[in-house]
Symmetry: C2
Subunit: 240 residues, 2 copies
């Protein structure tokens, strides 16, 4: 029975980090909410009064009778099963620590356009978004990018990967992070990317992998848009 991924259709969002793992491994999966009736199935599962394990929010994974929520948790579970995690248990926790730092960064990226509330539209929190985005681009983004660059440069197995000597789900997530940042903040990334060459090289090497290359060209890959975490609001980008 294939793995079932439950996530909102129409945006790459947080579900994309899980999709990339399935796609890179060439593993069969069902992206449930993108099938006819799938959204209703997802919402029913989230509200099932008989279910013991209920997620706070999508994405979640169903593997037979197990329901696993939270992206980093899903990837920690899938990593060894898809051949996308280190063999060594200690290194698996190193990978998980990096994935959780990516999670933190994603939350900060989300809050550049929603600094006050997820219940309000961007347009209802625009002055705060302008202020938060400027702080994010000046202080936080370079700190996070520099951190991941150091992680790559210090990997004892080589700067081609974040952890260990093989592709892991952390590499795939870093690829998507760069993709999203380029979409949302093109001006800022033109300034910052040259300072993180190992991260940029990792991005390119992931994009060039045959399965990922085919996936990116397929209609399974959703385009970024302004309902996603990564949004292109030119007024929030670095001004040139």
């Amino acid at each position: 029975m294939p793995y079932k991924l439950y996530y909102w259709g129409g945006i790459p969002g947080r579900g994309e980090f899980v999709r990339l793992a399935f796609e890179a491994a060439g593993t069969d999966y069902v992206d449930v909410a993108r099938l006819p009736g799938g959204l209703q199935e997802m919402l029913a599962l989230m509200k099932d009064p008989g279910a013991a394990s209920i997620p706070f929010a999508p994405p979640f994974l169903v593997d037979r009778d197990l329901l696993i929520s939270q992206v980093a948790n899903i990837l920690f579970y899938l990593g060894p099963r898809l051949g996308l995690a280190p063999q060594d248990e200690g290194l698996r926790h190193v990978a998980n620590g990096l994935q959780l730092t990516i999670t933190d960064l994603l939350a900060e990226i989300h809050d550049t356009h929603h600094p006050i509330s997820v219940s309000l539209y961007y347009e209802q929190q625009k002055p705060e978004s302008l202020r938060r985005s400027a702080e994010f681009l000046n202080n936080r983004l370079p700190k996070f990018l520099g951190y991941f660059e150091r992680i790559l440069n210090r990997n004892p197995a080589g700067r081609e990967h974040a952890v260990g000597k093989e592709l892991s789900y952390v590499d795939l997530s870093l690829f998507h992070l760069v993709e999203g940042l380029r979409y949302a903040f093109p001006n800022a990334m033109r300034v910052h990317e040259p300072r993180v060459p190992a991260l940029a090289a990792l991005h390119d090497s992931v994009a060039a992998r045959p399965r990922i290359h085919r996936y990116l060209a397929s209609d399974r890959r959703l385009a970024f848009n302004e309902s996603c975490i990564f949004r292109r609001y030119p007024e929030l980008d670095q001004q040139v």
Copy 2:
């Protein structure tokens, strides 16, 4: 060799979730940065140019030659070793999913007083904090509390624990969450707590455990204060 926890001294902060696990298990640990010279040791580790595994931020755990960062990751690692995680692998991922939802809530609590930037003082982002806190108390806090209440009520092994039939690190974290929320938002919690009786009962049962009871009365337990995640700014609390 005892486990070494590295976290800022002077605040419970995120380190407290790890301390509670050690204390509940009666496990020997060193709270490094609270010892003379410990803060310097922590900062040196974070900047060590030779280290492969560097944390983005405290807390992190050192167990022999392994350095593990991110609270949920540390607890996932320690859980089975301290007897504070379910035996079943699937349930361990359920526990991790819950812990990561607590992590998300903590980030939202932090941002009630820092909605714009961690580089600025609260006083420099007070109008935004007032707006974000009101949204948090009206929409997000009841949603999260209601979620954890449902998790307890639907636990097939009984509502005394979040996962499985024994104490886990998730229970300890929920205890501290309630403690912190009572400190930061006493008015709001007086309204919300009666609606989540299983969560309130879990809080009390954790507090009554002999080792936790002794810990809370000891000088190892740091008091909440306005440098922590949970801050008591009366203007941000629900107005009565």
